[in-house]
Symmetry: C2
Subunit: 203 residues, 2 copies
Amino acid sequence: MYDGVVQELIDELGRLPGVGPKSAQRIAFHIIQTESFDVSRLAHVLQTVRDRVRFCDICGNVGEQEVCQICSDPRRSQAVICVVEEPKDVVAIERTREFKGLYHVLGGALNPMNGVGPDQLRIKGLLSRLQDASVEEIIIATDPNVEGEATATYLIRTLQPLGIHVSRLASGLPVGGDLEFADEMTLGRAFEGRRRIDSGRVD
Amino acid sequence: MYDGVVQELIDELGRLPGVGPKSAQRIAFHIIQTESFDVSRLAHVLQTVRDRVRFCDICGNVGEQEVCQICSDPRRSQAVICVVEEPKDVVAIERTREFKGLYHVLGGALNPMNGVGPDQLRIKGLLSRLQDASVEEIIIATDPNVEGEATATYLIRTLQPLGIHVSRLASGLPVGGDLEFADEMTLGRAFEGRRRIDSGRVD
C-alpha cells in the first residue's frame, strides 16, 4: 500500500476496464514521474467529457449536440438506417466510406443472462423513426457473435411485419485472411452466402 | 475518428503506458456510458497527485511530505539502507515485513543506451547519507536483470572503498516454483548461493 493520494490514484485507475492492479500502478507512477505528462489536461478532458458528451436524440450515437453530426447532415440518405450495437461500430463503418445513410445505435446487444432485454436497448426509438415514410431499408450490422445474432433475429422479426426492407451484413471470409485458418462457422457462412460471378447472389 | 472531446479523451488515455488505441477507446466509452463511474473523483485525484505528491528529500520515495513516513519513523533502524530502483520496490519489500531499516530509491537503473548514467540516478544522495556514521550496511536490491545487475556492480564498486558492509539480495529458485522450469541462470545462481544446512552460506 502506498501513502494517501498515490494509493487513491491507483485505486481509481484500477476501476477502469482492462486495467488491473499492476497496470494501475504502472500508469500511476508514469503520471507521477513523467514531468512532461500533462495531468491537468487529462483531468480537464475527463471532466469535459462527462459534462458535454451526450447521446444523439435521434440515433443514440455519442456527440456534443442534441442531434449528432451524421443525423443533421443533409447530404446523407434518409432512406437507409444502419443498426449497430455501439458508437464504436459507427466509427468503424464510417471509416469504410461505403455507407451514406443514417445510423441507429442500440447501446448494446440482447443478453438476457446479464439483464439486457429489448427494453434496455434503443429499439423503441428505432421503431418510432420508422413512422417517417422516407425510411426504405434497415441494414442490421450487429456483431457476428451470439448476442449480436440474437439481436438481429429479434429485430428482423420485429421489423419485417412493417413492410420495410431489412438486410444483414454479409458473413464470410475476411479479406486478407487465409482459407485454411477460417473457423467452420465462417467457412460455412461463406458457402451459404456465395455469389455467382455472373448474376450476383445465389438464392 | 470521433467528435471533439470524445476523441480528445481517447488521445489522452492513449498516452498512458500500456494503453493502446483499442484500450483507450474501451476506457473512454466505459467512462462515457457508465453512469456510476465517478469522473470527477478520477479527475480530482489526478490533479491532487500532481499537486501534492513529491519525492522524499532523504530517500527519494514518493510521499506527500518533504520527508517520507519511513524516513521519519523513529522505530526503524538507521544502520541499514536498502537501495532499490523504484518506489514500487519499496512497497514490495514492505509487504514482506522482513526489513526494518531505511530505503534509498535510485529512480531507475543504469541504462547507458537510454541515456541513464550514474548522474541520472540518486547516487550522490546515497553517498551523502553515508556521511552519517550510523549507517553500517547497504543492501542492494536492484532488479535481477541486466540493468539492475549493472547498477549493483557500479554501486558495489563505489561503496566498498568507503568501508561499509555492502550486500546483495540472494538470487535463487523462487519459492513455490518448479525446479525443472527454472531457467539456467536462476538455477546456476541457486547453486552458487547454496547454503549448508548446518552452518550457513558456502563461500
